[in-house]
Amino acid sequence: MNAVPGPAERAQAVLAQGVHKSYWVGPTEITAVRDVSFTVRPGGALGIVGESGSGKTTLARMVVGIEEPDAGTLTVAGEPMLTRPRGASARVAQAKRAQMVFQDPYLSLDPRRTARQSLEDAVRAHTSGTRADIDARVDELLQHVGLGEREAGARPRRLSGGQRQRVAIARALAVDPAVLVLDEAVSALDVSVQAQILRLLVRVRAETGVALLFVSHDLGVVRYVCDDALVMFRGEIVERGPVGHLLDHPEHPYTRLLRASIPQEGWDPEAIGQARRDFLAGLG
């Protein structure tokens, strides 16, 4: 829906070119993201894989405009994302380009609003419809993410982790964004519930055409949700490709280490430990 024909960036849901971001910690400059380029096509799903400190969360935050790059180009649906868009209409327009779902929905949902009220707030901010229109849209969203009447009337503390994450996803979808950014959005969930949310995400993407930028340390989960993935290490992309190929035939030593580290049949933690020490030593 946002694939407006025109310049190259307009054809992409997300376009990053030479993106750079660093922070100052006291007198030391720490580069979080270094010269990162990638695209997400409209309706596509890109996984960003990496360990803590790899820069994957910083990248996700730049895509939704919580941070701005120091250098490089980053556009979402053809427009740059600003930390402080000027004016209400610019803020609303930016919110329609990218929405984010965080790891802990307990912290990102208003504790005093019920699930239904949270969704109403989001819908009302983005449409000028009648009360009936808003109610209909909220019902549609609740149904979309599999929340019933009881959950809709509950405040976040009365909901389970999985239900809260459903509310967070519905709230993000309320504005019909071009891109949904999920930062470790299923990591804190129990596996049985995580599987429900993963299936939900795949279905939502198929039904709404929203593009996904899916940040996770879990390779199996990324494989299930995404078409393509990129592997980050210390702020840089070390490998990228279609997710199946990337995991079945990893080429970069770090990707291979990451793949081998996951507990599986024939897992040899001692050999992995040695490989990790060798890899880190090789970096100098």
Binding site: S192, V193, A195, L219, L247, D248, I262, I272
Partner: protein, 332 residues
């Protein structure tokens, strides 16, 4: 006495605010030198069970049954019995090393203080042991680390310090409660490698508490799966993994997106519903509301019954007996 941990029919009931016991008739044994995993989702009671080995109970709870740690009864134990077990016989590594280590003391003091004060070790003996263990957990510069403060080390390095600390007195049993969950996967692999090698060398048994069934299977000889305060299935790791009998174990295994991708024309199988809260207390099987194999019989409580070699299952319809009614998916 060859069992370092013998839990039998352990029940823990909170005095307020819960409709069902948080542990309900849990039995579990860990033999000397054995590696046993306790697997479950949040609220399953796996942490409460592991803490019972140290006589650590939730506040305001009623405890019944028996927990023998290295032959010492922990239910209703005297202060001196508790001290004896906690000081030298059972060690514990928690998930977050930063929460378990005094931030204003040096690593060396943290490691040596306990054995010196509680067991009367000389400073020389404690220091020598600390140095030896920091080397054994593959820290790069043990002598320097002894003089460092916790904030100078990364999470992975600090977790190695915690492992060293738990093994100072060469305990017969080490409890690891999600000890590698907060670490990156490459670090987790390295630390699990160090931990297993060290415990095998020392002859220390390990009770490995985790939500990660793959990690449990890759690390341990035996696995017990917990759901809503009960052990629902236990057995040898490879049996349980390759041929799960309880519908919950089947569901857990099918819920993980496979690293190698799904088989063609299959989808991820989620367990419907949410884990049982403490406010819910079904009369019958705890898992029945989420189980696709349930029948009217499931309204009566199933017992934990033998189901094959070294295998126990708490289910009226374990896989194998009624294959047509069990949830099927990528696994066949």
């Amino acid at each position: 006495m060859s069992d370092v941990l013998e839990i039998s029919d352990l029940s823990v009931t909170l005095d307020q605010g819960a409709a069902r016991p948080i542990l309900d008739g849990v039995s579990l044994t860990v033999a000397a030198g054995d590696f046993v995993a306790l697997v479950g989702e949040s609220g399953s009671g796996k942490s409460v069970t592991s803490r019972a080995a140290l006589g650590l109970w939730p506040g305001q709870a009623t405890v019944s049954g028996s927990v023998r740690s290295c032959g010492v009864e922990m239910v209703g134990a005297s202060a001196s019995d508790l001290d004896r077990v906690r000081r030298g016989q059972v060690g514990m590594v928690f998930q977050d090393p930063r929460a378990g280590i005094n931030p204003v003391r040096r690593i060396g003091d943290f490691l040596t203080e306990g054995p010196q004060l509680a067991l009367g070790w000389s400073a020389e003996r404690a220091n020598a042991r600390a140095l030896e263990l920091l080397e054994a957990v593959s820290l790069p510069d043990p002598k320097r680390h002894l003089r460092q403060y916790p904030h100078e080390l990364s999470g992975g390095m600090l977790q190695r310090v915690m492992i060293a600390s738990a093994l100072m007195t060469q305990p017969a049993l080490l409890l690891c409660d999600e000890a590698t969950t907060a670490l990156d996967v490459t670090t987790q692999a390295e630390i699990v490698g160090i931990l297993t090698t060290l415990c095998v060398d020392l002859g220390t048994a390990v009770l490995f508490v985790t939500h990660d069934l793959d990690l449990a299977a890759a690390t341990c000889d035996r696995i017990a799966v917990m759901y809503a305060g009960q052990v629902v299935e236990s057995g040898r790791a490879e049996d349980l993994f390759e041929d799960p009998h309880h519908p919950y174990t089947v569901g857990l295994l099918d819920s993980r997106p496979p690293l190698g991708g799904l088989a063609p024309d299959t989808d991820l199988q989620a367990i419907p519903g949410t884990p049982l809260s403490l406010a819910e207390s079904p009369a019958g099987c705890r898992f029945a509301t989420r189980c696709q194999a349930r029948t009217p019989q499931c309204e009566t409580r199933p017992g934990l019954l033998a189901d094959g070699v070294q295998r126990l299952v708490r289910c009226w319809h374990p896989s194998g007996s009624t294959p047509a009614s069990t949830p099927s998916g990528a696994r066949s």
